[in-house]
Symmetry: none
Subunit: 118 residues, 2 copies
DNA sequence: CCCATATTCAACCGGCAAGTTAAGCAAAGC
DNA sequence: GCTTTGCTTAACTTGCCGGTTGAATATGGG
């Protein structure tokens, strides 16, 4: 189970479901067994189990069995790629694309050897 | 059309589609007409039109008609809520600048035309 | 060993999302 | 005024998604 870097597709569509976001919120506080995760929701255990599978496939949680209990724990780095992707859009103000580019050229010393800018 | 604060559901599921993310990437460079947005994709204009509608409903872009052309422009604040939500999980530092750089270099291949490759 | 607990698997269903084509509108151009 | 250009709507197909139920699997306890 190399869990090879999940796609943004997987991550964002995992996040698109309110139940799954709620689960992530719960796991933020503490690791939980599947049954306990399911408790507050008004849907079958199987449904929650599927949701957890989706989250795991997206690399947002990890499930590890200890005894007959499967513990679900947040995988904090799972959100990193998505977060980084989003920051690319949100970071700059309305339409300061020029400013942004200038910032980039300064902030990226290793962009291309030298930033000889006439 | 007050465009009342779109839900996280709407935002994340809008972002879950690679075509839509690509569109956002294009609009990051410049405002575009619908037809021009559709050009690089191998799907019908109608399909792209729908994608744009989804993005607009999610508050990620705005479409305004001028003449017979409808201009699509990024709505940078549209990502803010989602970003904030995600930061809530950021037990990891807000945004790793290294990651940010890497993202930028991939996402903005042609952000400027002057200093091209030799 | 047998039973209870914990979780998934399998088969199924309704609904929605994404794509298609074809028709419909609106604004410009000749 | 008719045609062309730009875009949306409508109607339809297809496939996936989220849910259900019921059986299957694994583990721990008495």
């Amino acid at each position: 189970m190399p869990a090879q870097q999940p796609s943004l597709d997987a991550i964002f569509s995992a996040l698109a479901d309110p139940t799954r976001r709620a689960i992530l919120g719960m796991l933020l506080e503490d690791d939980m067994a599947v049954t306990d995760v399911a408790a507050p929701f008004e849907m079958s255990l199987a449904a929650i189990s599927k949701h957890l599978a989706v989250l795991a496939a997206a690399g947002l949680i990890r499930q590890e069995r200890r005894g007959r209990i499967i513990w679900c724990k947040l995988e904090p780095d799972g959100l990193r790629n998505a977060s980084v992707w989003m920051q690319g859009f949100g970071q700059f103000e309305p339409v300061d694309l020029d400013d942004f580019e200038r910032f980039l050229r300064e902030a990226l010393p290793l962009a291309d050897g030298d930033d000889a800018q006439p």
